[in-house]
Each structure stands twice: as structure tokens, then as C-alpha cells.
């Protein structure tokens, strides 16, 4: 790799390192940062490109924030850019979480912290319930979707199966249904 290309990769890594360290939750929360840092300041991709990459990333397996950053990295510097963007995006998470994980056991032994986590667990349950409701409102658009939902819910709740099975079966059902539907 020539020095200029190497420097470019370091740049890409650094920008996504910053974005990874500053976004809570990933996904759409990082869009404003991408717009400011990538489209306006550095002009590596246009605002429309970014929206496009984000939309495609939602239909790709894996983490949406990582997928979006990789597509931007590729546009700027091909394969080395893609890899640099991915590593930059995951670096802050890995370092912050490992630092917390190393010390949390001692904290949990403190009685007040234990009680605090008791409260946190109730909030997390509420959070997951709310997430499921919001997703349901968006994707349960007709009878076929409701049927897929019901079948996947019963299968995963009652039988000891891997989540891979409902996901793959849902995808196949979607393709079969589209073939049968006259368009």
C-alpha cells in the first residue's frame, strides 16, 4: 500500500472511531453525525448516498451502523476503506464495554448498585416490550405477516429451536408469497 492510500485509511478509521464513540445506539442516531462529518466536511459521499447506504444496510445481515460505515468506506477507498471503516466503528464499543465488563462484578457486589440493577432490569423488560410493539406496528401490515409472526412466535417460545430457523423460514415464506401474488 502506498503512503497516500495508507493515510487515507487512517483518516477513514479515525472518522468512524469518532462516530462510534459519539453515537448511542447506532442506527439512525448516527445519521446526523454522518451528514456533518462525511457529507459536509469531507465530501466522501453525498447526503443522498448516505441515506441510500443506510437504507440498503437495513436489508443486509449484521449491524446496520457497521454496514452503513463499510459502504461509505468502500466509496472513499475501495476494500481497504471498507475494512478501515468497519474497524473504526467497532473499536470504541470493544474498548468501552471491555473496560466496564472488567470492573462491573465488583460494583454489583455493592448493595446499592445491586438494587439499582434490580430497577434497571424492570426498565429493560419495558424497553424490549416497547421495541417488539414498535416493530410489530411497522411490519404487521397484512394477514400473511400476522401469520408468519404467529408461527415464528409459537415455534420460538414453545420449541427449543435456533432463531436461525424462523428467520430463514420467514424469508422463504416471503419469497413464495411474492411469487404467488399476481403483480
Amino acid at each position: 500500500m502506498n503512503p497516500a492510500a495508507f493515510r487515507e485509511c487512517i483518516d477513514i478509521f479515525a472518522v468512524f472511531l469518532k462516530i462510534g464513540a459519539l453515537t448511542f445506539g447506532g442506527g439512525y442516531t448516527m445519521l446526523p453525525l454522518l451528514r456533518a462529518d462525511i457529507a459536509e466536511k469531507r465530501k466522501w459521499a453525498s447526503e443522498d448516498d448516505i441515506i441510500d447506504f443506510y437504507a440498503v444496510s437495513q436489508s443486509l445481515p449484521g449491524i446496520v451502523a457497521v454496514n452503513t460505515s463499510m459502504l461509505i468506506g468502500y466509496k472513499k477507498a475501495k476494500i481497504p476503506g471498507l475494512v478501515s471503516a468497519c474497524l473504526g466503528m467497532i473499536c470504541p464499543s470493544v474498548m468501552i464495554i471491555l473496560a466496564i465488563a472488567l470492573f462491573i462484578q465488583n460494583f454489583l457486589a455493592v448493595k446499592t448498585v445491586g438494587h439499582a440493577f434490580g430497577g434497571i432490569r424492570a426498565a429493560v423488560a419495558a424497553l424490549i416490550v416497547k421495541t417488539a410493539f414498535d416493530m410489530g406496528k411497522k411490519c404487521l401490515v397484512d394477514g400473511a405477516c400476522a401469520l408468519i409472526f404467529a408461527a415464528a412466535f409459537l415455534a420460538f417460545t414453545l420449541a427449543d429451536i435456533s432463531p436461525v430457523i424462523p428467520v430463514a423460514a420467514g424469508g422463504m415464506a416471503g419469497i413464495v408469497l411474492a411469487r404467488r401474488r399476481p403483480s
Binding site: S59, A65, A122, K130, A152
Partner: protein, 185 residues
């Protein structure tokens, strides 16, 4: 060695099959809590709370945490790299035909079916967590103390506030931590 191989295998699978963003990896981790002795479902709930309250994509944060729980610092790094590896490979192929992929009818059709399935997995995990956190089976010798009333109340209040004010999860988690410490939950 073998724990690293198992860990890498599991997270490659999660990276390949978790679609839908946000909590899409949750049903997989939920299953891992049952199938391996790396972490319990209760620990998983703490992982979610910490992953939501720290910077970075939630899926990445949870993978690092779960990997750490399974096999220490190297486990955390390995699980995260394994999680993103399928995405890297797929992205390399997709970039060559981004527009074709976006407009592809089969991709759209598949996602039409995948989304309700993923929602069902998260709903099922939500039900499991509610059962685990709100009902104390091991303490509950009589009907009166089976239900953890304080937690149920906090759960209901949090859910209500989330629906009313659409704030970032970190606010509710912080609020619940204070309430938990004050109420000795």
C-alpha cells in the same frame, strides 16, 4: 482453544442471520444463555442495559460483552470480529451491485417475511424476560409473594413513560436505576 472456536462459530452465525437492526441479535443471545454456560438470562439483561447506556451500536456492544462473559478479553474481541465478518464479506459483494440489490424483487420479498419473524423472536424474548423479572418463582412459596409487586409497578410506569415521551433508552435506564436503589429492588 475450543471455547474460542465455539464462540467464533456462534457469532459468525449471529452475524449472518441477525437482520433488522437494534435488538436483532437479542434472540440469539437469549438462546446462547440456554445452550452454553457463558452467561445467564439475568446477566443478559444487565448486558442490554449497559449496551444501551454506552456509546456504539447496541449489537456490537452486546457481542463484546457476551464474548467477554464467555472467554474474557480475547473472547470479547473475537466475538465482535466474528459478528461483523459475514457483513464484511457480504458488503464486498454488494458494493459492486448496490442499485441492483436495492431494487431486487426477491430481496424485498424475503424481507417482507423476515421482518415479522424477527419481531416474533424479540416478542418471545420479551415475554421470557417479563416472566423472569416480574415473577419470583424461587421465593414464591405462597401466591402473595410470587409476584414482585415493586418491579411490576416500575415496569408498568417505565412502559407508560416510554410510550408517552419518546426519549432515548438511557434516560429510562438511569431513572430506573435511581428508583431501584431508592426502593431496594
Amino acid at each position: 482453544m475450543s471455547v474460542y472456536l465455539t464462540l467464533a462459530g456462534e457469532f459468525l452465525k449471529i452475524g449472518l442471520f441477525s437482520v433488522g437492526g437494534g435488538l436483532a441479535t437479542l434472540p440469539f443471545l437469549y438462546k446462547l444463555a440456554d445452550s452454553h454456560d457463558w452467561f445467564t438470562r439475568a446477566t443478559l439483561v444487565d448486558m442490554i442495559a449497559i449496551s444501551e447506556s454506552t456509546p456504539g451500536p447496541i449489537g456490537i456492544n452486546m457481542a463484546t460483552y457476551a464474548g467477554y462473559a464467555a472467554a474474557g478479553v480475547y473472547g470479547g474481541v473475537l466475538a465482535t470480529l466474528a459478528l461483523v465478518f459475514p457483513s464484511v464479506v457480504i458488503a464486498l459483494f454488494i458494493t459492486k451491485a448496490l442499485d441492483a440489490f436495492r431494487d431486487d424483487k426477491s430481496v424485498k420479498a424475503a424481507f417482507y417475511g423476515v421482518r415479522p419473524a424477527v419481531t416474533a423472536l424479540i416478542a418471545s424474548a420479551a415475554l421470557g424476560f417479563m416472566k423472569m423479572m416480574l415473577i419470583d418463582i424461587e421465593n414464591g412459596s405462597s401466591a402473595a409473594n410470587i409476584l414482585n409487586v415493586k418491579r411490576i409497578a416500575l415496569f408498568a410506569v417505565t412502559l407508560y413513560l416510554m410510550k408517552k415521551y419518546d426519549k432515548h433508552p438511557v434516560f429510562y435506564i438511569g431513572g430506573a436505576a435511581i428508583a431501584g436503589a431508592a426502593l431496594k429492588l
